[in-house]
């Protein structure tokens, strides 16, 4: 081996020559920043005119415009840092060693990209503002007509309570029902085969049928059948049953995947201590599986919360249905925007809360 390496020609590492300051990148950032600044100021002027035209007068219109204008100039800060970086890089190159210019150039490039990122963010904001103000503020009026939103908000909130009621009850039912179905799908042995078959058939069917169709079938169909006991239940009960059946099929699959994700050696250890199949599931497998299932379960629950808006097909006056009535009466969709905001408002804290809970749990179990 030695002579092979000895006879080889000398190879040198080649990782590029003397670096140059990122002039083109910096100039790009400079030009784009100037452009976005101009666009911002133009948009602010339109906004000011629109506010004055709509009868909002007084010092606060001027104050708001001034504040927004000052905010627009904040783009100069990252740009200044980019400029400082570019200047440092130029000086470093003149000193004619390799290492310092390389580091300076890397920093200058990073700062230029940060400035460009800020330009892009400001561009998005300007674009959005332009969209809202377009066609004599038609967009803003259609979706965000504040007086109507304020007037109808109590009505919308009251109706939204129905959504909350439906999804809270459904979530509780689904947690239990999904586990039951999942355990049936995992029933052991030959005796468990019919159970497995029934459970997986249920999941196949109810995952395939659209939720809105299921709500329609149960909500309108069951009262028509006139079966005693069932026919006297409330419409809300029917939609809860329909949603539980649909979402339960998904949840069962989440449970099953979670349970199967736990390595079989855990079951072997539990069974080898004399625990029964159910005891091993209850104390060893499911508690670990639940930790795997939480993110997909939350996904499922947020999807369910939104799906409660589907109950309007059978005439339940939920927030969406209420907002549609308001939209028909006022020829304006702003109440529907309120509903959208309410759904956003409840979904965001859930994911944050859950993420924090899971971090705490991981910190407890994992090695430091």
């Amino acid at each position: 081996m030695a002579e092979i390496f000895d006879s080889a020609p000398v190879r040198r590492l080649n990782i590029g020559g003397m670096p140059a300051a990122p002039t083109a990148l910096f100039l790009t950032a400079l030009v784009l920043a100037a452009a976005i600044l101009a666009a911002s100021l133009y948009t602010i002027e339109i906004l000011r005119a629109a506010l004055l035209q709509n009868g909002f007068a007084g010092w606060w219109v001027f104050g708001l415009s001034a504040l927004l204008a000052i905010a627009s100039f904040l783009i100069a800060l990252p740009l200044a840092r980019a400029f400082a970086g570019w200047r440092d890089a130029r000086h470093a190159v003149k000193r004619n060693d390799m290492v310092a210019p390389r580091a300076a150039r890397a920093q200058a490039q990073a700062r230029c990209w940060i400035a460009l990122g800020a330009v892009f963010a400001q561009f998005v904001v300007v674009l959005l503002a332009q969209f809202l103000l377009a066609n004599n503020q038609a967009v803003a009026r259609t979706f965000f007509f504040v007086p109507l939103m304020a007037d109808t908000f109590p009505l919308v909130l009251k109706a939204f309570w129905i959504n909350v009621e439906i999804f809270t009850v459904t979530e509780i039912l689904v947690l239990v029902w999904g586990l039951v179905v999942a355990l049936a799908m995992l029933a052991p042995g030959a005796a468990g085969r019919p159970l497995r078959l029934i459970a997986s058939t249920y999941v196949d069917i109810f995952r395939a049928v659209p939720a809105v169709l299921m709500i329609y079938l149960v909500g309108f169909g069951v009262p028509l059948t006139g079966v005693p006991l069932f026919k006297d239940m409330s419409l809300v009960t029917f939609v809860i049953v329909a949603l539980t059946l649909t979402v339960g099929a998904y949840t069962a699959e989440i449970y099953r995947a979670g349970i199967l994700s736990i390595h079989w050696s855990q079951a072997a250890a539990a069974r080898s201590l004399g625990l029964t199949h159910m005891q091993a599931l209850r104390h060893v497998i499911v508690p670990q599986a639940v930790r795997q299932m939480i993110p997909p379960l939350l996904n499922e629950f947020i999807a369910l919360q939104k799906d409660t808006a589907l109950v309007s097909v059978v005439g339940v006056i939920d927030a969406f249905n209420q907002s549609m009535l308001i939209a028909t009466n006022h020829y304006n969709l702003s109440a529907a925007t309120s509903v959208a905001l309410l759904f956003i408002l409840i979904s965001i804290p859930q994911s944050h809360l859950l993420e924090r809970m899971m971090q705490r749990d991981r910190a407890r179990l994992r090695a430091r």
Partner: protein, 247 residues
């Protein structure tokens, strides 16, 4: 009457025979070591003894009573036959104390207090008392394996099966685990260990069985198997181990 009497058992995974007409006896208070190349059926043999694997042929008797075949209450059998695995298999969502008390509470129906008292006594005996509240992931491999042994002992088993319990450990942690096994052997615990630790097998066992192709190829006292193996494959196996400097 032998304590464990394994008569002519066979086990197949599909078409692959893993254990092939294997017979073996273990006396009470005896330590029996199972050695042999990987794939020779050591782990499967142990898993058949406590019913984690069902055998296809033959029978297994404990105290003269047949414990293999259909209809046997494997949960009851496993109460009295403990097993410790190569990969520890501790329950990661439970503290050490939770791991050790789970089966005594749920299976033996001990009160929580009684189970914890028993667990703490065992943990203290094996130098783990200060780890009782820790979770498994915070322990070293050696500590985890010692907890796994304590978890099996907390069921007060009549026999302990040890399935290559030091194979996953760093070399310097092996001795702390083997120390426990040595202690248990001195106390007269009946044990069957599948192992690659030839030196330890020689020191601690009353009988060594060389497994090959799913059957006992040669068995005898440790002195005889390691000193004067009579059969060719035993000799070849031991000399390959010696070449790897693992004796």
């Amino acid at each position: 009457m032998a304590f464990i009497d394994i008569r002519d058992i066979s086990k197949r995974y599909g078409d692959l025979p893993v254990i092939n007409r294997l017979s073996l006896t273990v006396e009470e208070h005896q330590v029996v070591s199972i050695i042999g190349p990987s794939g020779s059926g050591k782990s499967t043999l142990l898993r058949c003894i406590n019913g984690l694997e069902a055998i296809d042929d033959g029978e297994i008797l404990v105290h003269g009573e047949r414990v293999s075949g259909p209809g046997v209450d494997v949960n009851a059998l496993r109460r009295d036959i403990g097993i410790v695995f190569q990969g520890y298999n501790l329950f990661p969502h439970m503290s050490v104390l939770g791991n050790v008390t789970l089966a005594p509470v749920k299976v033996l129906k001990l009160s929580k207090a009684a189970a914890e008292e028993r667990a703490m006594a065992l943990l203290a005996r094996f130098g783990l008392a200060d780890k009782a509240k820790e979770y498994p992931d915070r322990l070293s491999g050696g500590q985890q394996q010692r907890v796994a042994i304590v978890r099996a002992l907390a069921m007060d088993p009549m026999v302990l099966l040890l399935d290559e319990i030091t194979s996953a450990l760093d070399p310097e942690l092996v001795s702390e685990v083997l120390g426990i096994v040595r202690k248990l052997a001195q106390d007269g615990m009946t044990m069957v260990l599948a192992t690659h630790e030839m030196g330890f097998a020689r020191e601690v066992s009353n009988k060594v069985c060389f497994l090959c192709d799913g059957a006992v190829h040669e068995e005898g006292t440790p002195e005889r198997i390691f000193g004067h193996p009579t059969r060719e494959r035993t000799r070849a196996f031991l000399s390959s181990i010696r070449d790897a400097k693992r004796i």
